[in-house]
């Protein structure tokens, strides 16, 4: 039986999945990206300084991440900094780290409350997660408030949101002053109180064990019919409570056995360089299934064997690829997505790979806070639907603490120079590497006399939803789907939840084809997905 789910979008649209199901298990999967983007083609011939402004429009959610990746690439091409942007004035680096971190603290709750929360909320499944019911749930409303506050914080720095203006070629167009810091500390203190229940100066995970115990206790009571909904107690941190409750419910539904990629590979570019030493707070690395190898971006290529592009646009190394030449209808191809490969291998990107790299390179405590992945998924490095969810939540805790320490650090840079002159008419090659909330993000540019000759953006979802390559290797999402159980073909929840664990988003219409050619056209509202 062949099942097509398209679109699978709650956020950025136009992604679908085609799967084959036999005896209640997914036997083959094709990740479909059905929209041609073409930003790389738009950029060719333009002034290199336009690139950050234009590529920022790739997304309305992770706009800052594209702007920064593009700046890193052009500043690298100008010889001002390395591929992680180390070498820029420390005040600019600190400021850019702040932009980045605010984006994370904003973005992960979007995933919890809007993109994946509805899957587990009370409205479709009587899980007791009434706080996660779409739009009207109490937790969702609180998250809307928090996001409003965080957007305010971003606008204080960036002039406007989305698409802030202040990160510019050569640094930042704004200097840090006491007023900005005071405003931001006020907002962050309020949001932190909501998120994790503690004020400035206390680690975000302070309450975590207590919250976990309380959630498990309430879960037993819900199952025994003694109560019908999860409710946080005063001072627990409502978001932390909701997130932990969601994990407990997901574990109860067996997500630790869904979306499993047995032979997983993971890639983290690393990011957040220390303004003085340049050391990356989140380390880079390639997890080959047993150990973490040093990451070398020159080993990144893009395969288009199964993508609607002419084969000659790939050269081996992504930095020298030609602008993608569309070839819709190419025999055997099934997606506009390319197949990025590291050293010829597919790799998963996102919070889990980032934390796995941190776990293996920096510290076990930091890379698997509270040992949640080890406890719920058997190992801190396992790739399952549940471990991807846990990692996203763990990262939120890490980021709130990091944001706070950064705000304190900013005082040292008040009034310091945040920009240096960006030279005109540069020629050269540049790479910008960093991590967007959804995973490793890289921009590659080749410039000649100040004009763009080649541009490539390899975005996180391209890694995760990559199709097969010339060696027949499936992409990460495809691999995770193969082997996933499907208990009810008319409602393939296991498949949808696996997709959502990669944070690709989902939408309203599910088309299902059986092998007899019968077509079901299910319109599911958010409450039932």
């Amino acid at each position: 039986m062949e099942i097509t789910i398209d679109p699978v979008t709650r956020l950025e649209g136009h992604h679908g999945v085609k799967i084959n199901v036999e005896d209640g298990v997914v036997t083959d999967a094709k990740a479909l990206a059905l929209m041609f983007r073409g930003f790389e083609r738009i950029l060719v011939g333009r002034d290199i300084r336009d690139a950050p402004i234009i590529t920022q429009r790739i997304c309305g959610v992770c706009h800052n991440d594209h702007r920064l990746a593009s700046l890193f690439a052009i500043e690298n091409a100008a010889g001002m900094a390395d591929e992680w942007n180390v070498g820029m004035p420390p005040a600019a680096t600190a400021f850019r780290n702040l932009v980045t971190t605010l984006q994370y603290v904003y973005d992960h709750p979007v995933w919890v409350y809007v993109l994946v929360g509805p899957d587990f909320s009370d409205s479709p499944h009587k899980t007791g997660l009434t706080r996660l019911n779409p739009i009207v749930g109490k937790g969702v409303k609180e998250a809307v408030w928090a996001q409003k506050e965080l957007h305010k914080a971003m606008a204080i720095i960036g002039g406007k949101v989305p698409h802030m203006m202040t990160p510019a070629p050569g640094g930042m167009t704004l200097e840090i002053d006491e007023k900005i810091i005071t405003q931001l500390v006020g907002i962050v203190a309020d949001v932190k109180k909501w998120a994790v229940g503690v004020g400035i100066g206390q680690p975000a995970a302070t309450n975590a064990e207590y919250v976990l115990d309380e959630v498990l206790k309430q879960m037993e009571e819900i199952k025994a019919g003694k109560r019908d909904a999860f409710e946080p107690k005063e001072g627990m941190g409502n978001a932390l409570f909701d997130m932990v409750a969601m994990i407990a419910v997901a574990h109860d539904m067996g997500l630790n056995e869904q979306g499993v990629w047995e032979d997983s590979k993971m890639l983290a570019y690393g990011f957040l360089p220390d303004p003085e030493s340049g050391e990356l707070y989140f380390p880079s690395g390639f997890f080959n299934g047993s150990e973490l190898e040093n990451m070398d971006y020159r080993k990144i290529s893009e395969d288009v064997t199964y993508s609607w592009y002419k084969d000659e646009t790939q050269t081996g190394y992504v930095g020298t690829d030609l602008p993608p030449e569309p070839y819709y209808g190419k025999s055997g191809a099934y997606t506009w997505g390319k197949a990025p490969r590291y050293n010829g291998l597919p790799a998963e990107v996102g919070p889990l790979p980032r934390l796995v790299a941190m776990y293996l390179k920096k510290s076990k405590e930091l890379g698997d806070p509270l040992g949640l992945r080890k406890t719920f998924c058997g190992s801190a490095t396992a790739s399952t639907a549940l471990s991807r969810m846990i990692a996203r939540i763990q990262e939120e805790l890490i980021m709130i603490d990091y944001l706070e320490s950064l705000l304190l650090q900013l005082k040292d840079y008040a009034g310091k120079k945040t920009a240096i002159e960006y030279p005109e008419n540069i020629s050269g090659e540049g790479v910008g590497l960093r991590e967007a909330p959804r995973g490793a993000l890289g921009h590659w540019v080749v410039a000649e006399n100040g004009k763009i000759k080649r541009y490539q953006a390899v975005v996180p979802t391209t890694w995760n939803v990559s199709p097969k390559d010339s060696k027949g290797q499936h992409g990460p999402l495809e691999s995770a789907l193969i082997g996933t159980p499907v208990s009810d073909p008319a409602n393939p929840w296991e498949v949808v939840r696996t997709i959502h664990s990669f944070d690709l988003c989902l939408a309203c219409t599910v088309h299902i084809f059986t092998k007899e050619g019968r077509k079901y056209n299910l319109t599911l509202d958010a409450c039932s997905i």
Binding site: V114, P134, I135, V136, K141, V144, K148, C508, D525, C527
Partner: protein, 153 residues
Amino acid sequence: MVVIIGAGNLILGDDGFGIHVIERLKKMKEFENVKIVDSMTNSAIMLEAMDGEDKAIIVDAIDVGQEEGVAVYRFNPKEEDFPSDIMLSMHDLHFRDVIAMARDVYNLPDEIVIVGVKPEKVELSLDLSESCSGHIDEVIDFIRKELGINSMS
């Protein structure tokens, strides 16, 4: 206090009706002390503009199946009981869903009035169709009455 909000996409012909109207209001002396906000297509700006006000007048292109011309809606978001059949899509939020989500988050006015004209052409253009631009004066008169301003003409 009252806030007047123009909503819509200025580059999509009649969809920009609300913006054309508020741009006209901004030039009129009788509205110089009134809070006027261009929310474009952004519901967050609209909510932010209404926050803490007693009354909001939203001007937009409205197609509710009326034959043609001006349509008016009036409701109290604190009292209205919103239906629960919510369709969730980040890029296509229903006005009703936005209000439902904003309840308890923003301090919404007791009275929201939506006034607008049926669009004739929603396509790439900076100009309004004749039928829409012909209704601008009528809508401005309506807003005057809502504000209790006597026509200066």
